[in-house]
Amino acid sequence: MIEAHKDYAGAKLGMWLFLFTEVVLFGGLFLLYSAYLHRYHLDFHHAARNLDTFLGGANTIILITSSFFMAMSITALQLGRRGRCLGLLALTVLMALGFLANKAIEWWAKFEHGIFPGSEHLRALPQGEEIFYSLYFAMTGLHGIHVLLGVGILSFVMILVRRGRVRQEDFVILENSGLYWHLVDLIWIFLFPLFYLIT
């Protein structure tokens, strides 16, 4: 989204501002989360028990690793090792896809159990639990969309790197995409304990 510009500092500043808006976007949901956690403390506790900590944990590791690869790919390009950079980017994208697959499995299992927004099953549960699941779907869903966007952006950057539009001397686009990816990772690191570990 941020175009190549001679003004590196400007491009970085713009990106940081954008990331800020993303944080605030999720911030709205975090506010809701904390308000409801306060109100339905016990229900949240119960509902969280039904989430699969293993799957969630695996996803956390996947994302953290991918962030690591992302950072490495930037260093690689800075050192002028384009092939290595591309490889690392590919790995990052793969891990992102893995994350999404994992997420899909997790959601699918929930649907199988009749747990989806507005389902009969949820309505039968205590209200706090239903709210918990609504938040769960809203927040992980929005995060999932961001991961998906990340996949798109990183694949696009891969093309740019291959074409030489992004290169050792001019890699701000790669760097900004990296920032974006770290943000996606960071948000997950908040989501994970809030949903999986509060029991």
């Binding site: 989204m1 941020i2 175009e3 510009h5 003004d7 500092a9 400007g10 500043l13 713009g14 501002l17 954008f18 800020f20 808006t21 993303e22 605030v24 976007l25 999720f26 911030g27 709205g28 949901l29 506010l31 809701l32 308000a35 409801y36 109100r39 339905y40 927004p117 507005g118 309505r123 205590p126 209200q127 706090g128 239903e130 709210i131 609504s134 938040l135 779907f137 809203a138 929005l142």
Partner: protein, 544 residues
């Protein structure tokens, strides 16, 4: 002083038809020239403004007498919703920053363009998309949305009208606004010309800067809020549904966390315009530059903490009422400071009365009325009585139309010769101003009284005791309509046939006036070296 940025052999129509111009619509809607984008915004905003005021006029016609059935109840409910949505999200929020901000920001700081020209164009496209989606929501589905511009849950979850599409429009518009803000902040930080220190920025730029931060920090909250309304309706999420444990008050908090700061998105740029116009026509440096710049930042920051004054009757805790009422009063002080600084700038000036100054004076009067009545609403006990009555309707029309609206008109009359290189008829402009001022007061003042008498807002019909006020108000809307029509006609005629204006008809001192009118595509032939402040008038002021 190397302020001679005049490009040798620049086309007399400047950026309006630059040499490399292929001409035609495409050269506009795909142009990354900030001035063209600004004009595109201006055109869209004025068109939508016309649509919005037409709806206002229709509402007034419907309300002219009790029991009038010009509009069916459902239609009326849709009309005020659409009126509010258009005015807020499509007109006043983008108004000055997106149009004049775009045109002038790079000129004021001595830059070639904004930091991200293509992103800028993208913002405009987003705006256009949002506008189209908003229009789609009116004409498709099972009827135009009927929730009021506030989209309060749980009503907005239940109504069968086309709310889902409308909130998506708001979401898209929000992103357009965010990207504009982001672009402006970066531009102001990065692209100031050499010598353009922070304290040499024009106050208009300062106000844009403060506004941009509000846009960037507050708008995402609106984004997520309307997304949630969408999810509630479409995905059956139930986060705000009291029947399922949700809390509708949380929605209101989220909504106003954005929408109160949004009123400062609306007013700050107008205040910036006023701060730039007054010294020009008083032939005097602005009084209290630091205070004005600083108060913009204060309004932007403290203004983010007062949102729940819209919720004094919502059932939130009394403690919250205490806190928010207090903060509301605090945020009124920086506005007061500005007013007094403007007055002091006029004091002992050498005042030339031209249309831009008239609109500026109109701004000061009308905004003061609106702002001072805002104090009534900030006072917890008094707000209980006037909340959701016509008093509020009067308050915000005074601040929005009387403030932002007149500020926008002032900007239009001030920068008109710069943008088009021509001059409108000044006497007609002055006449239009007085008619608008009269119409506005006849239209909106009775609403204060109606509100104090207890007439609730969003009523398609009302008991007989309110008939008189409503009638006067409707008559006012016709006067206002005449004034507006005259003003727009005059400007239009100016674009077509106005006399050539020259580079600096007002004798102003900010950078844009050093360029030919209209400015050439690349702005400054060479980036200027700035050596003085924006309001340093030549020691011997121009006489005419």
């Amino acid at each position: 002083m190397s302020l001679t940025g005049i490009k040798a052999g620049a086309s007399p129509r400047g950026f309006l038809s630059s040499p490399q111009d292929a001409g035609g619509l495409r050269s506009w809607i795909f142009s990354t020239d900030h001035k063209r984008i600004g004009l595109l915004y201006l055109a869209c905003i004025l068109t939508l403004f016309a649509a919005g005021v037409a709806l206002g006029l229709i509402m007034r016609l419907k309300l002219i007498t009790p029991g009038n059935d010009l509009l069916a109840p459902q239609t009326y409910n849709a009309v005020f919703t659409v009126h509010g949505v258009i005015m807020i999200f499509l007109v006043v929020i983008p108004s000055i920053p997106a149009s004049f901000g775009n045109i002038l920001l790079p000129l004021h700081i001595g830059a070639e363009d904004v930091s991200f020209p293509r992103l800028n164009l993208f913002s405009w496209w987003l705006y256009l998309t949002g506008a189209v989606v908003a229009l789609v929501s009116i004409f498709t589905g099972s009827g135009a949305p009927d929730t009021g511009w506030t989209f309060y849950v749980p009503f907005s979850e239940r109504t069968t009208t086309n709310v889902s599409v409308a909130v998506m429009a708001v979401f898209i518009l929000g992103f357009s606004s965010i990207l504009t803000g982001l672009n402006f902040i970066t531009t102001i930080h990065q692209l100031r010309a050499p010598g353009m220190t922070w304290r040499r920025l024009s106050l208009f730029v300062w106000s844009l800067y403060a506004t941009a931060w509000v846009q960037v920090l507050a708008t995402p909250i609106l984004g997520i809020t309307v997304l949630l309304v969408f999810a509630e309706r479409v995905l059956n999420l139930g986060l705000f549904d009291p029947g399922r444990g949700g809390d509708p008050l949380l929605y209101q908090h989220l909504f106003w966390i954005y929408s109160h700061p949004a009123v400062y998105i609306m007013i700050l740029p107008a205040m910036g315009v006023i701060s730039d116009i007054i010294p020009v026509f008083a032939r005097k440096r602005i009084f209290g530059y630091n205070m004005i710049a600083f108060s913009s930042l204060t309004i932007a920051s403290v203004g983010s903490l007062v949102w729940a004054h819209h919720m004094f009757t919502s059932g939130m805790s009394d403690l919250a009422v205490l806190v928010f009422s207090f903060l509301t009063f605090i945020v009124a002080v920086p506005s007061a400071i500005k007013i007094f600084n403007w007055l002091s700038t006029l004091y002992k000036g050498s005042i030339i009365v031209e249309p831009p100054l008239l609109f500026t004076l109109g701004f000061i009067w009308m905004f003061s009325v609106g702002g001072l009545t805002g104090l009534i609403q900030g006072a917890a006990g008094a707000d209980i009585h006037v909340h959701d009555t016509y008093f509020i309707v009067a308050h915000f029309h005074y601040v929005i139309f009387g403030g932002t609206g007149l500020g926008m008109f002032a900007a239009m009359h001030f920068w008109f010769p710069k943008i088009f290189g021509r001059m409108y008829n000044r006497r007609t402009a002055a006449a239009a101003f007085w008619i608008i001022l009269l119409g506005m007061n006849v239209l909106y003042f009775p609403m204060f009284i109606l509100g104090l008498m207890g007439m609730p807002r969003r009523y398609y019909d009302y008991p007989a005791q309110f008939a008189q006020g409503q009638l006067i108000s409707t008559v006012g809307s016709w006067i206002l309509a005449m004034g507006l029509a005259l003003m727009f006609y005059n400007l239009y005629a100016g674009v077509r046939r106005g006399a050539a204006a020259g580079p600096n008809p007002w004798g102003a001192a900010t950078l844009e006036w050093t360029l030919p009118s209209p400015p050439p595509s690349g702005n400054f032939a060479e980036i200027p070296e700035v050596e003085k402040g924006p309001y340093d008038f030549a020691p011997d002021p121009r006489h005419d």
